[in-house]
Symmetry: C2
Subunit: 246 residues, 2 copies
Amino acid sequence: MNPVKDNSCCLEVCFSPKLFPEILTKENFIVVLVDILRATTTICTAFENGVKAIIPVASAEEARLLKAQGYLVASEQDGKKLDFADFGNSAFSFTRELVEGKTLVYCTTNGTRALEGAKHSGQIVIGAFINISALTGWLVGKGKNVVILCSGWKNKFCLEDALFAGALSNRLLESGKFSTNCDSAHASIDLWNLAKPDILKYLEKAAHRHRLKRLGLDDVIPYSFTLDLTKVVPVFNGKKINMNEE
Amino acid sequence: MNPVKDNSCCLEVCFSPKLFPEILTKENFIVVLVDILRATTTICTAFENGVKAIIPVASAEEARLLKAQGYLVASEQDGKKLDFADFGNSAFSFTRELVEGKTLVYCTTNGTRALEGAKHSGQIVIGAFINISALTGWLVGKGKNVVILCSGWKNKFCLEDALFAGALSNRLLESGKFSTNCDSAHASIDLWNLAKPDILKYLEKAAHRHRLKRLGLDDVIPYSFTLDLTKVVPVFNGKKINMNEE
């Protein structure tokens, strides 16, 4: 148990955007948005490859309207790139050749739902296994309370986001700057400790892993669970996601 | 992983009443209501001791109105029995001498919130560690899909309800009659397997365990995590909880 210490920052984990209004942390906090398969992993990849900004949208219709305004657009349905779009949602599509210096629109239902719910709360930062050490350092430096918000799948709890919440919670608690009395944080840490000796084997039980496999989109899974491929810490300003300039 | 088999019943776990509308099971299902600390443990105790029926209410005001109509009433606030009530909410108050043959009103905010959310769905049955084997046998006999609904605490995920969900999920899957592709079910099973060698030690990290301790209400904890103290399987008919008469 990590009792909440008077002088430490509070850490809380939220397993679904629908539970975000129930969080106990009420002020001075940063939200870490998590959608490991695939939105937040893809967003970090795009920034590693030099994208200028990303505009997240929840529906293909919004994406189509922004395409008509000249934006590069990533949008897919049931694993197929939509006809009007420039990319699907796979991290592997966002190469430096295609995205460097550009502002692009990214259509993600689960991730955007979570962003919408959190955007009037605290500062929002993008979390993935591929940027976990850079993110940890950034959060420790900020000295604010942290809520890790799992996007889940259709508002449901999902294992892959919970595992990331556990991995990040572990690191924040180990920094000595955070403490928690959040049951979701404790549960996610225990799940992460179980999974980490062989993450891909553990993931065999995750429903979304099988959903992606059926759609032929699971090529991105080993990449999505690799630690520290990038040092980017993208932040959301309420409209766009930008590189953290601090 | 337990893939869903064509001829088996689906098992799903829901970590909060707020996530109940998101469940994937849409028909022919039984809801297992769980609020280990303390409502569902207390309700099973009352039926073991011969109570005739229990009317669950969410507020002290409703409890007070029913007291005026002559019911025995259990209602407390911040761990203290309210002045008009006959009992607090501890399982230890519901002795055979006091409850046998009576209909009583039980005020529980978290449990009633969950019942309200589920009552237009399937049949609702009351689950606790103290009736887990009887409940398992009853569910296996029914041959319907099962959703385990954790009451949580103020709509948040809580460890003690998740542990019960894992224990019950394990037993249902072991029966060979159920299968699941629900990430919450897999997570709860993993948490239960971690906790079961020493449940009370594991629970040291649960926030509600500390909340009850501060209120002097944690005497009920070892009892609440003891398996099979009763064979009762109480069911909710939309208004009252009764002994299962089948």
